[in-house]
Amino acid sequence: MSRKISMKQAINEALDLEMRRDPTVIVMGEDIVGGTGAHGEADAWGGVLGVTKGLHAKHGDRLMDTPLSESAYIGAAIGAAACGLRPVAELMFMDFMGVCFDQIFNQAAKFRYMFGGKAETPVVIRGMVGAGFRAAAQHSQMLTPLFTHIPGLKVVCPSNAYDAKGLLIQAIRDNDPVIFCEHKNLYGMECEVPAESYAIPFGEANVLRDGDDVTIVSYGLTVHRAMAAADALARERVEAEVIDLRTLSPIDWDSIVESVERTGRLVVVDEAHPRCNLATDIAAYVGQHAFGALKAGVQMVTAPHTPVPFAPSLEDLYVPSAEAIAAAALRTLAPTGTTPRSIAA
């Protein structure tokens, strides 16, 4: 049975279903239980934005509140994974990853490789990414390119509730460490989600819209901006194909190249900073593998190379807009040396 639920509910449901299915799944993080059952507790919140609310009542001590020490509990989760559990550790804001880089980059990501394939680390580290939440520079970054740089990590960033549920279930069942990036500004967005369990395989991009004129590739929140841009472009009789990557490691190169071979034009949209991000990565790959198909230079639409501003007016300008994406698409269609019109998206 399928009904409309939010991305936050979809993530909660994925955790609940996997904990029911597999007794080795545990959940840990700061305030994820929220003091349920403790003396004087009034309303257990379940995580800073309530994603894990209600799970402690169903699964008890398989959910653990941890001390405010990311290096300690992420390390503990990775160790537990290497010893046979399937921990899902919530990092709250992905920006806090810095204090546990060694545990993730040097330990979790390397175990399979350095122990000759004899060790597996089925850990999921989930946390919030992205700007637009008025949470300032230390709680708003899109750090996905840091993780895609490291072999041994799988990196996921869903754009909607349906994908979030299926990708998180797949992440929990996966035998490698998965960095699961949840855009905080998508938590409230609803779509049709089956009540049953289902897993979306990694490395399979989603084509959200068909078009023959230009390919727009993105992930996370900016997928919705890309769709708004495609609507605006359609009013100008430009048909854009919109690809949602869903997983960044592994990445679905075939879908990108197949689409560009048909459209000949590519716009890559990434909320991360412009240097060495998914946009540069994809632009380079297409330049290497589909150069002959390109009818125009690849356009990149990214956040600027600055920390995320706290001033709301500046923060709103920071995340790639639908207008900027539509303008980039028109640049790929403009004859060389001309300036394309801008359109409202």
């Binding site: 049975m1 399928s2 349906y162 299926g166 089956p194 049953e196 369990s197 289902y198 897993a199 979306i200 395989p201 399979e204 989603n206 084509v207 068909d210 075939d254 879908s255």
Partner: protein, 384 residues
């Protein structure tokens, strides 16, 4: 206001989720003479592109719908009438028609099929029910989809049959939004599940319409409980011969990506451009559900092991004398159209050109007309 001699042509509603459709082009010019079943126009939805066939005959007196434009479901897009109907009457009809469409086509008016769930011995089964649209409820018709399908395979069928019957469409166990566990993946097991559903839904006796594997299930049900089956309509049905494209069954079961599934689905249609992105996406969403792959593998092993159909029921069904209609798409690449004659004189057999395995979708108008005729006046043993 209601002028019996003027027939409206409206944007059709294909399935529960369709709210609008894009008129991609007219296949008849204004003023053309139109016969029942003629292809009138093409409509594109996010799920499928299909032609709209004439449900009446007459002259295409007015064309209101513009190619390339999106219209809401039920919007008036053309008018059919005989040549002697004066223009003024047609103008009046068009003016009168616009009013209900804009004025408040409320929820009351929207009497389309609804999804329901029935608790049965085979688990929770989803079904759609559409009450007869012409007042009295009429006979019960139960539609059974094929391997890997679901009740949306009947999206062009349900409304048409509801003109003279109460229509049920079932998601068989392991399919659609029904329970994914299969107690018994054989035809006998599925037949038991169908009878259990009929008990739960309060259907004493029904005309069974089965597509592909659902056809074989219908036959098994008619043999197991003849008193509960009023007639059989077998569309590109399994159970009439041993041949089947095992590559399709295996490919469908194994595919878990858009790139793998799309070419498999294209074998279902004579016109492969009908396989749209949404059709592939919806099937992938179904195939990803826990338990589906195991259910499909169990069915495939029980029914189509070693590349041949395990149970052939043609002889037994022919011997029952049950009114039976067999319909096939001439270009069926999954089960050969040659099986259409397997029941000999015990059934009416029709092979439709330019259609594939999903003939009830690809040639919906023709198949619906045959089904209505068969269910409306079930005459025993008429051969054509």
């Amino acid at each position: 206001m209601l002028n019996e001699r003027i027939k409206p042509i409206v944007m059709p509603k294909w399935g529960l989720s369709m709210s609008e459709g894009k008129l991609t082009g007219w296949l008849k010019r204004p003023g053309a003479s139109v016969a029942l079943g003629d292809e009138l126009l093409e409509v594109e939805t996010d799920k499928i592109t299909n032609v709209v066939e004439a449900g009446d005959s007459g002259i295409l007196r007015r064309v209101l719908g513009e190619p390339g434009t999106v219209y809401p479901v039920k919007a008036l897009i053309a008018v059919l009438a005989e040549p002697d109907v004066p223009d003024s009457e047609i103008d009046a009809f068009i003016d009168a028609y616009a009013a209900p469409a804009t004025g408040g086509a409320g929820e009351e008016e929207e009497a389309g099929p609804r999804y329901h769930f029935a608790e049965t011995p085979a688990g929770t089964l989803r079904y759609a029910k559409r009450d007869g649209t012409r007042g009295e409820s009429g006979p019960a018709v139960l539609l059974l989809h094929g391997f890997g399908g679901d009740l949306d395979n009947w999206l062009f069928t349900i409304d048409a049959l509801a003109e003279s019957a109460t229509v049920y469409a079932l998601d068989l166990p392991g399919h659609g939004q029904s329970a994914k566990t299969l107690a018994d993946p054989t035809l006998a097991g599925l037949s038991k599940a169908v009878l259990g559903f009929m008990d739960a839904a309060g259907i004493d006796r029904a005309h069974l319409v089965g597509h592909s594997m659902g056809g074989a299930v219908s036959m098994r049900t008619a043999l197991d409980a003849p008193e509960r089956v009023a007639s059989l309509s077998l569309i590109a049905s399994a159970g009439l011969g041993s041949a089947i494209d095992h590559g399709y069954i295996q490919g469908f079961t194994a595919a878990n990506s858009r790139r793998d599934l799309k070419p498999v689905l294209e074998t279902l249609f004579a016109d492969q451009s009908l396989v749209g992105r949404k059709l592939v996406d919806d099937l992938l969403k179904y195939k990803r559900l826990d338990g589906v792959e195991a259910a499909l593998r169990a069915l495939s092993a029980a029914l189509f092991a070693d590349g041949a159909q395990a149970e052939i029921l043609a002889g037994a069904v022919a011997a029952t004398g049950l009114p039976t209609l067999v319909v096939w798409g001439e270009q069926d690449r999954v089960i050969p159209a040659a099986h259409a004659t397997a029941l000999g004189h015990a059934a009416r057999s029709v092979v439709i050109p330019n259609a594939g395995h999903m003939v009830q979708m690809e040639a919906a108008g023709k198949v619906n007309a045959l089904l209505k005729e068969h269910i409306g006046t079930p005459a025993t043993g008429t051969a054509t």
